[in-house]
C-alpha cells in the first residue's frame, strides 16, 4: 500500500501526518456546515495530491467507481420512474386501505417509506412521500408532525435492510464485496424486528392525538389514486426495468455482475425505452432532464472522500487506528463488534455517516488477521451497517433524509426543532440499537 503514495511529500513532511491533518480539517469543516461538503472533500483530495501524499493515479485508484455507478444508476432510474406518478399512487392507495383512519394512515405511510427506502435512496423516498403525507394530513385536519417523524425514522430503518437502501450499505457492499442477497439474509430480519419494536412506543406516544372526523376521512377516501398515474406507458417500462434490476441484484452471485453494472445497465435501458420513439431534439431534452435528476454534489462528495480515505490508508494511518482499537478491545471479537455497533450509532447520530463508514471500512478490513480472515469480519460489517444507518435516527442532523423532511416541514409551516426531535427519537434510536445488540450477539457471537 505504501508504494501507492508519491515518493516525495511536500517539504519532507510525514505523509501520515499530512493525510491525517487534511482529513481531520475536512471533517471538522463538514461538521461546521459553513461550506458545501462536496467542495471540502474535493479540495481536501486535491491538496492531498498537491502535498505529494498521493499521485493522481493512486488517488484515482482510491475512488470506488462501483459505489459511484450504483448511486448514479439508481438516481437515474428513480428520477425517470417518479415522473410516472407511481409513488403518489402507492401512498394514496395505502392510506385508503386503512379507511383513512389517522393512526392507520401513519402506519401505512411509514411502512411504504420503509419499503421504498429499502430499494431507493432515503432522500428520494422522503421527497416522494412527504408531499403526499402533507396533502393527506391537511385533508384529515391532523398535525403532520407524527407522520413526518415516523417517515424519517422508517426511511433510515428501511434503508438499512438492503445493499442499495443507504449509502453506508452501498459502500460496505462494494468495497468489501458482500453480495446483495447477503445483506437481505443478514440485515432484513433484524430491520423488520426494529420496525415492529419501534411501532409500540410510537403508538402510545401519539394514539390520543391522532383523531379526525368522518367527514375528513371521507375527503381522503374520495381521492382517486389511479388519477395519480400520469404516464401509464412510462410506468410499465419503469416497472419492467426495476424488476430486471432487482433480479440482477438478486442473481449477482451467479452472474458475477457488480451492482454498478446492473444499475447503470438498468438506467440505460430505461432511458432507451423512454426515448426511442422521440425525435432527436426531444431525446436531447429528455436525456438532459434525466441526468439533471442525478445528485452530482453527492457523487462528487464521494469522489473526494474516497481519495481522502485512500490517503489515510496508503500512509498507514488506518492500520495504526485499527491497532489502537484492537488494543482498546484487547483483540476480543465480541467486545470489538459491540463497540463498532454502539460507537457507529452514537457517532452517526451527530456526524455524517458517509465519511465515518468510508473511514471504518479500511480500518475493519485491516483487522482480518486478528479475527481469522475475511469470514471472521462479517459480524463487524453488520454491526457497522446497523450502527451507522440506524444511528442517523438519533438527531435531526443524523441523516440527510432527516434534514430534507425538516426543510419541507418548515416550508409547510410545521417546523421540526432539533431538541423536540431528539426528545422523541434519540430514545427510539437507542431502542433499535439494543435490538441489534441482542440480534448480533445471538446470531454471530
Amino acid at each position: 500500500m505504501h508504494g501507492e503514495s508519491a515518493s516525495h511529500v511536500l517539504l519532507g513532511w510525514n505523509a501520515a501526518w499530512v493525510a491525517s491533518l487534511l482529513f481531520a480539517g475536512v471533517y471538522a469543516l463538514i461538521i461546521a456546515e459553513k461550506l458545501n461538503r462536496a467542495i471540502l472533500a474535493l479540495l481536501g483530495a486535491a491538496m492531498l495530491i498537491l502535498c505529494g501524499v498521493l499521485t493522481q493515479e493512486a488517488a484515482f485508484r482510491g475512488i470506488d467507481f462501483n459505489t459511484i455507478g450504483l448511486l448514479m444508476g439508481m438516481m437515474l432510474i428513480v428520477g425517470i420512474t417518479a415522473k410516472s406518478g407511481v409513488f403518489q399512487y402507492l401512498a394514496i392507495w395505502s392510506a385508503k386501505k386503512v379507511q383513512a383512519k389517522p393512526m392507520g394512515v401513519l402506519f401505512m405511510l411509514a411502512m411504504v417509506t420503509a419499503f421504498l427506502s429499502s430499494l431507493l435512496d432515503n432522500v428520494t423516498t422522503v421527497l416522494l412521500v412527504v408531499p403526499v403525507t402533507l396533502l393527506i394530513t391537511e385533508e384529515l385536519k391532523v398535525r403532520p408532525y407524527p407522520f413526518l417523524i415516523a417517515e424519517v425514522l422508517c426511511s433510515n430503518i428501511g434503508g438499512t435492510a438492503t445493499l442499495i437502501g443507504d449509502p453506508p450499505n452501498i459502500m460496505i457492499g462494494s468495497l468489501v464485496g458482500i453480495p446483495f442477497n447477503d445483506f437481505i439474509y443478514n440485515l432484513t430480519p433484524v430491520v423488520l424486528v426494529v420496525l415492529g419494536v419501534s411501532c409500540v412506543p410510537y403508538y402510545f406516544m401519539y394514539r390520543k392525538e391522532l383523531v379526525t372526523t368522518d367527514e375528513a376521512r371521507e375527503r381522503v377516501m374520495a381521492f382517486n389514486e389511479s388519477e395519480a398515474i400520469k404516464d401509464h406507458r412510462l410506468l410499465q417500462q419503469a416497472l419492467i426495468v426495476l424488476a430486471l434490476v432487482l433480479a440482477g441484484f438478486f442473481t449477482s452471485r451467479l452472474t458475477h455482475l457488480e451492482p454498478a453494472t446492473v444499475a447503470m445497465g438498468g438506467a440505460a435501458l430505461l432511458l432507451l425505452l423512454d426515448n426511442f420513439t422521440r425525435s432527436a431534439e426531444e431525446q436531447g431534452e429528455q436525456v438532459q432532464k434525466a441526468f439533471a435528476e442525478v445528485e452530482w454534489v453527492t457523487l462528487m462528495f464521494f469522489v473526494g472522500l474516497f481519495i481522502l480515505v485512500h490517503g489515510l490508508e496508503t500512509s498507514g494511518v488506518i492500520r495504526s487506528m485499527a491497532e489502537r482499537l484492537l488494543e482498546a478491545t484487547k483483540g476480543d471479537r465480541t467486545t470489538t463488534v459491540l463497540a463498532v455497533l454502539w460507537g457507529s450509532a452514537i457517532l452517526s447520530a451527530f456526524i455524517d455517516n458517509i465519511p465515518f463508514v468510508a473511514t471504518m471500512i479500511p480500518l475493519i478490513k485491516s483487522m482480518a488477521p486478528t479475527f481469522g480472515g475475511e469470514q471472521g469480519l462479517m459480524p463487524l460489517w453488520w454491526a457497522l451497517s446497523l450502527g451507522a444507518c440506524l444511528g442517523g435516527n438519533g438527531t435531526l442532523i443524523g441523516a440527510s433524509a432527516n434534514l430534507v423532511v425538516a426543510g419541507l416541514a418548515e416550508r409547510a409551516g410545521q417546523p421540526i426543532r432539533f431538541v423536540t426531535y431528539m426528545k422523541t427519537c434519540f430514545g427510539l434510536m437507542l431502542l433499535s440499537i439494543v435490538v441489534c445488540h441482542v440480534y448480533i450477539y445471538w446470531r454471530y457471537l
Partner: protein, 150 residues
C-alpha cells in the same frame, strides 16, 4: 425615455389593513392580476396577486416547491369547495399575504429599457416607487410599454 413618462400614474392598489376578501374583489372587478400593497401613508410594501389566490385554493403540499406535487388530478374538487376556502380566508388581512417582488421596485426616473428588462424577468406588471419616500407613484405594465411603442 423614462419610466415616469409611460407608466400608469393612477394605479389601483390595496392597503395592508384591508382584508383578503376585499383585495380579491378588487382583482375580480378590475381584471388585474396584480395589486400593489401600500400602508396608510401610501408607502409601498409589496404585492397582492393571483398567486396569493392560488395559494389559498391549492393544498399547502403543492406549494412546497416546484416539483413537490406536479399532479393533483386525484384530489376531488368542486367550485363550492373552492369558494368555501376563499370564504375561510376572506377575513385575513392583506398584510398576511403581501409578497415582495423578486425585483426591486422601479423608480420613475429609471430608463424604460430597465423596465423592459424587469418585465421580461419578473412578470407583466411592476410597481413604480419614489426613490426617497418609497411611496407608490405608479405601475408599469407590458401594455404601457406596448402602447408607448405604437
Amino acid at each position: 425615455m423614462k419610466i415616469g413618462e409611460i407608466m400608469n400614474r393612477a394605479p389601483v392598489s390595496v392597503r395592508m389593513d384591508q382584508t383578503f376578501g376585499e383585495a380579491f374583489r378588487v382583482l375580480v372587478e378590475t381584471g388585474h392580476k396584480f395589486l400593489p400593497v401600500v400602508d396608510a401613508e401610501g408607502v409601498y410594501h409589496g404585492n397582492f396577486d393571483l398567486k396569493d389566490v392560488w395559494g389559498v385554493l391549492l393544498p399547502k403540499a403543492a406549494r412546497l416547491d416546484r416539483k413537490s406535487i406536479e399532479n393533483l388530478a386525484f384530489v376531488p374538487s368542486s367550485l363550492e369547495k373552492m369558494k368555501d376556502k376563499l370564504a375561510d380566508a376572506s377575513g385575513d388581512l392583506v398584510e398576511k399575504y403581501v409578497t415582495r417582488s423578486d425585483a426591486p421596485p422601479l423608480a420613475p426616473e429609471s430608463p424604460v429599457i430597465q423596465g423592459i428588462l424587469m418585465l421580461d424577468e419578473c412578470g407583466e406588471t411592476l410597481a413604480v416607487v419614489d426613490a426617497n419616500t418609497h411611496k407608490l407613484v405608479g405601475i408599469l405594465s407590458a401594455t404601457d410599454v406596448l402602447n408607448a411603442l405604437r
